[in-house]
């Protein structure tokens, strides 16, 4: 018996995928040309599956901030935040994030994944209970597992179900951390956060919201669903990432609880890793300023998203959520989704493919994410690609 034996099921899946001639995983980006364009396998391609919601990866302010930081601060800190890895930029970004959310505390992590790993493993130990929305991201499940808390799930976006399951816990509900997301990554559906907060607080539980896909998307200042739903002052922890609307890599947690500061000294994923690279901190700070000062980016993103959503709905595609920056089309079988995904790529449009068992409810999803940087012509092209493939599939079904 070998340590590699456990990979046999994965190897079998990879063999079956290879046999189709279509591989949606690890698509090689030969050349990146802009926030929305790349060369993929030698072909000019529109990027409609990159979560680059505000299109800031090539923003001049962000790029120039990164260049200046590289020249002034070097290529990396080569150290943990607990050692030599806390530069002025790290501290400034934490202060700016706290101010943006109107709270007193913020911690920056090296990735969004590590933000969840680091926060949840520190907050919830073996004597604590975590109640997760069933559709939470893998980083949330992994963070809870790392901490060893008693992990329970409630049905996705269902406040009544959360209420029922918290009631079952009796007194332990007051020792529970309820974990949800603002906008869920697969379908782009939004949490009924006001209802969830009311239920959580009624049972004495704390509430933790991952706004990875909602920062820069909604709320009067663009901070996310908690702001949009008027419950910023009711949420105990907000976690987010720099790798979507802010165009970089990294993560954060903000909270009105002064005790967040203690997490720095208790969180292994925070302590035992190198701190974010100074140029990444610099571009992130510049992107946060652009997000804050340019609400027009958000407006353009929503215009693009609503155009695509309306066009696909009119063509009869089954869509996973109301209009939003994530537009997920649902297919009956993995094979149908796979071939549609390849068809889009052949038509110069890259989107994401999501198949069971990685998806809840056995969904087979072709998932697009829009950007404020998509031009009208690019949206037209994306729509045309979906429509022509949809017509092809309908004709094939009849024939």
């Amino acid at each position: 018996m070998s340590v590699f034996d456990k990979f046999a099921p994965i190897a079998e899946v990879r063999r079956r995928i290879a046999a189709t001639g279509v591989d949606p995983l690890g698509v090689p980006i030969d050349e990146i040309r802009s926030a929305t364009e790349a060369v993929v396998r030698g072909r000019p391609t529109i990027l409609a599956g990159s979560n680059n919601y505000l299109g800031l990866t090539f923003d001049p302010d962000c790029v120039n901030a990164g260049i200046a930081a590289l020249q002034d601060e070097g290529t990396g800190t080569t150290g943990s935040r607990m050692a030599n890895g806390s530069y002025a930029g790290h501290l400034a970004l934490e202060a700016e994030l706290a101010a943006f959310y109107g709270v007193s505390q913020a911690i920056v992590f090296s990735t969004g994944y590590q933000a969840n790993l680091g926060m949840l493993s520190a907050l919830a130990g073996p004597r604590d209970v975590v109640m997760l929305d069933a559709d939470c991201h893998a980083s949330i499940y992994d963070g809870v597992k790392l901490g060893g808390a008693q992990a329970l799930r409630f049905r996705h976006n269902d406040a009544a179900d959360l209420d029922k399951r918290l009631r079952r816990l009796g007194e332990r509900a007051a020792e529970t951390l309820v974990v949800v997301e603002g906008i869920y990554s697969m379908l782009g559906d939004q949490a009924p956060l006001a209802d969830l907060c009311e239920v959580a607080h009624r049972h004495g539980a704390l509430i933790y919201v991952d706004e990875a896909h909602s920062l820069g998307i909604c709320g009067a200042t663009g901070s996310g669903v908690a702001e949009h739903d008027g419950v910023l002052d009711q949420v105990d922890f907000i976690v987010g990432t720099f790798s979507k609307s802010l165009g970089a890599a990294g993560g954060y947690c903000v909270s009105r609880h002064a005790e967040l500061e203690m997490v720095r000294y208790a969180s292994r994923p925070y302590i035992f890793t190198a701190s974010p690279v100074p140029s990444v901190i610099a571009t992130t700070r510049a992107a946060l300023e652009r997000l804050r000062s340019t609400p027009g980016l958000r407006d353009q993103l929503w215009r693009n998203a609503e155009r695509l959503h309306a066009a696909l709905a009119a063509e009869g595609f089954t869509l996973g959520a109301p209009p939003g920056p994530v537009v997920a089309t649902m297919f009956d079988t993995p094979e149908a989704a796979l071939m549609f995904w390849q068809g889009l790529l052949d038509n110069g449009v890259y989107v994401n493919l999501m198949l069971p068992p990685a998806t809840p409810n056995g969904w087979c999803l072709v998932r697009a994410s829009l950007s404020a940087a998509h031009t009208d012509a690019q949206i037209d092209h994306i729509i045309d690609a979906f429509v022509s493939l949809g017509q092809r599939d309908r004709e094939a079904a009849i024939g």
């Binding site: 069933a134 992990a151 409630f154 079952r168 068992p357």
Partner: protein, 80 residues
């Protein structure tokens, strides 16, 4: 408070709805290798069992079990 027999009966009924081709389900049936459950289905099944038994079942029990019998015994320990 549910005992092993009650839990096994409920679990057996639930597994019949989760498994394809209505495979024969016995205590020694392995959830993944014999009944073909994936990780998502296993977690969904735990939520359904919570509703059937009206109790909280932490996901933490799952890594310890491979068979239907082992899962029923783990749930009985939680219930106790």
């Amino acid at each position: 408070m549910a005992n092993y027999d009650t839990i096994y009966h409920e679990l057996h009924g639930l597994l019949e709805s989760y498994t394809q081709d209505k495979q024969k389900i016995v205590p020694e049936s392995r959830l993944v290798d014999d009944l073909g459950l994936d990780s998502m289905q296993t977690m969904e099944m735990v939520m359904d069992m919570e509703d059937r038994l009206d109790m909280a079942i932490p996901l933490n029990v799952l890594p310890e079990v491979q068979t239907v019998d082992e899962l029923a015994r783990a749930l009985a320990r939680v219930a106790a």
